[in-house]
């Protein structure tokens, strides 16, 4: 299909060129309607910065190597046009024998929100209007324990931690049984073999069904065109991760897929000043996350929903 589409603009002037394809010369009403509506769609597409190929291509998982390379090249081209900056957009796949798991030590976290902003910088979130944070740090009373009904995310004391409080960062839990994936009508979001729940922003239609399905509030919607200064753009990008998003799509934590698929720790783990964040391969008995699972009593958030998060909270005391 994509091979024929580039000739569509010629439909406005049928037979104008010597090598115009026969289809555009057909004067039948049916064909006229077909080409006219396609032309209108085309105009709408170019208005939102997408190429025809982006819309008529196959699902990400069905792309051949060559097709994927073209898709990535188009994202890089769009980045260059929009930000005037050369970027590298990869699509590094999952490794065999790797299942990512995340641990968060609630007895260490001091609620400093360094992770929130490291994530924003790494993952090219919209800075403001709309402000998008993939990590939400909740302040709770030690006396009550984990009680989401009495959690405060807008705390702003002069210093942290506040006496009598503890802090619980919440982000995508990368569920083994993700309700968001089931809710998506277009298969724009899915779980990768290494456990990362990803979104193809080109496939997302912005219906926000996944947002209402997610019990963790981990998914965020671009209500307006993201506001991302070119000088702050992170040029190391992954197609399913931190590449810039258009208006009207959903985004969320990807365990820093552009970093972790290359073997690096996620940005939040790297910056956490107290070492509360643990990340690694659940299948590697020597990994920090496995040691956490073996040595500490871990718990998962909203266990009763049977979402089976791959994000484990624990108190190392």
């Amino acid at each position: 299909m994509s091979a024929r589409l580039p000739v569509l603009p010629d439909a406005d002037a049928p037979g104008s060129g010597p090598d115009a394809p026969e289809a555009t010369l057909d004067p039948s009403r049916r064909n006229f309607m077909k080409t006219a509506s396609a032309g209108a769609a085309l105009a709408a597409l170019s208005a939102c910065g997408l190429d025809v190929e982006d819309v008529f291509r196959k699902h990400f998982k069905e792309l051949s190597r060559d097709e994927l390379a073209k898709v990535l090249a188009r994202v890089e081209k769009r980045n260059l046009e929009k930000f005037g900056k050369v970027t590298t957009v990869g699509a590094e796949g999952p490794r065999a024998g790797v299942q990512f798991g995340y641990g968060l030590d609630l007895s260490r976290c001091i609620g400093c929100r360094r992770c929130v902003y490291a994530c924003v910088r790494e993952n090219n979130q919209s800075r403001e209007r709309p402000q998008i944070h993939w990590i939400r740090v909740l302040e709770m009373d030690k006396e009550r324990g984990v009680d989401l009904a009495h959690a405060e995310q807008y705390y702003e004391p002069a210093t942290v931690p506040r006496d009598g409080k503890f802090y619980m960062p919440v982000q995508c839990q990368h569920c083994e049984n993700p309700p968001c994936v089931k809710a998506c009508p277009t298969q724009a979001t899915w779980k990768e073999p290494d456990g990362i729940v990803v979104i193809d922003y080109d496939w997302c239609i912005g219906c926000r069904c996944c947002m209402s399905a997610c019990p963790y509030g981990a998914r965020h919607f671009n209500w307006a065109t993201p506001n991302l200064p070119a000088e702050e753009l992170n040029p190391d990008q992954h197609y399913l991760g931190n590449r810039p998003r258009p208006k009207g799509v959903v985004e969320k934590c990807t365990f820093c897929i552009q970093r972790t698929r290359k073997g690096l720790y996620p940005a939040c783990t790297e910056i956490c000043p107290v070492g509360a964040r643990k990340f690694g391969n659940l299948l590697d008995p020597e990994s920090e996350i496995r040691k956490v699972m073996e040595m500490k009593r871990v718990f998962i958030l909203k266990e009763e929903l049977a979402t089976h998060p791959q994000f484990f909270y624990f108190y190392a005391t």
């Binding site: 999952p94 065999a96 024998g97 299942q99 798991g101 001091i110 400093c112 929100r113 360094r114 929130v116 902003y117 403001e128 209007r129 709309p130 402000q131 944070h133 995310q153 807008y154 705390y155 702003e156 004391p157 210093t159 942290v160 931690p161 083994e176 073999p193 290494d194 456990g195 307006a224 972790t260 073997g263 690096l264 720790y265 783990t269 790297e270 000043p273 107290v274 070492g275 643990k278 391969n281 659940l282 299948l283 590697d284 020597e286 990994s287 920090e288 040691k291 956490v292 699972m293 040595m295 500490k296 009593r297 871990v298 718990f299 998962i300 089976h308 998060p309 791959q310 484990f312 190392a316």
Partner: protein, 184 residues
């Protein structure tokens, strides 16, 4: 709850793309972070202490900043610092260790933390989850003279980034905007 976690892990194992594929055996390379910097001009201690060897428990005229914050049970300088070799620390067994191995000293009492720290459960590591990583020392985050955690800052030592404990708690980053503050 633990059962559920185990279940999650079992599910993870079952869902692995290739169950036979073991994690790649890698030369686990752990790199020690730079210890936090000494106060300027203080090291080597022997520069002054070569002929100062008073073991008496007393108010110090010089290291008062350490003594004033000292909040570490019933400790006294010479419980950890060696009287005869001031440039090294001294374990309860009498073995002397360099300042870069102070974790051995901490681990004499805090064995549970030492155990967790060695496998990466306590403390911080940066770098690669699948390879070379840098681990931080007890004293990168805890003031050895007043070990209860307060805060940390990033500092540079010898051109390398590391962390140093602070005397006060740290300021949090700005809170997220409330929905009503995100007007067009």
């Amino acid at each position: 709850m633990r059962d559920f976690a185990a279940l999650g892990l079992a599910a993870a194992l079952a869902a692995s793309p290739d169950p036979a594929a073991k994690p790649v055996a890698k030369a686990e390379s752990l790199v020690q972070a730079e210890p936090p910097p000494f106060s300027e001009g203080i090291f080597p201690c022997s520069a002054c202490h070569a002929d100062q060897k008073n073991p008496e428990h007393r108010e110090l005229a010089f290291h008062d900043e350490q003594q004033s914050v000292l909040a570490h049970g019933e400790r006294w300088c010479l419980d950890c610092h060696d009287l005869d070799d001031r440039d090294r620390l001294r374990l309860a067994s009498g073995v002397r260790v360099p300042f870069t191995e102070s974790y051995k000293l901490c681990g004499q009492c805090h064995g549970d933390k030492l155990r967790d720290w060695r496998v990466g459960v306590h403390g911080k590591r940066v770098g690669r989850w699948d390879g070379q990583k840098t681990y931080f020392l007890c004293v990168n985050c805890h003031d050895p003279h007043s070990p209860r955690f307060k805060g940390v800052v990033t500092v540079e030592v010898g051109g390398k980034k590391t962390t140093r404990y602070t005397a006060e708690r740290i300021r949090p980053e700005p809170r997220p905007k409330r929905p009503e503050e995100m007007a067009r």
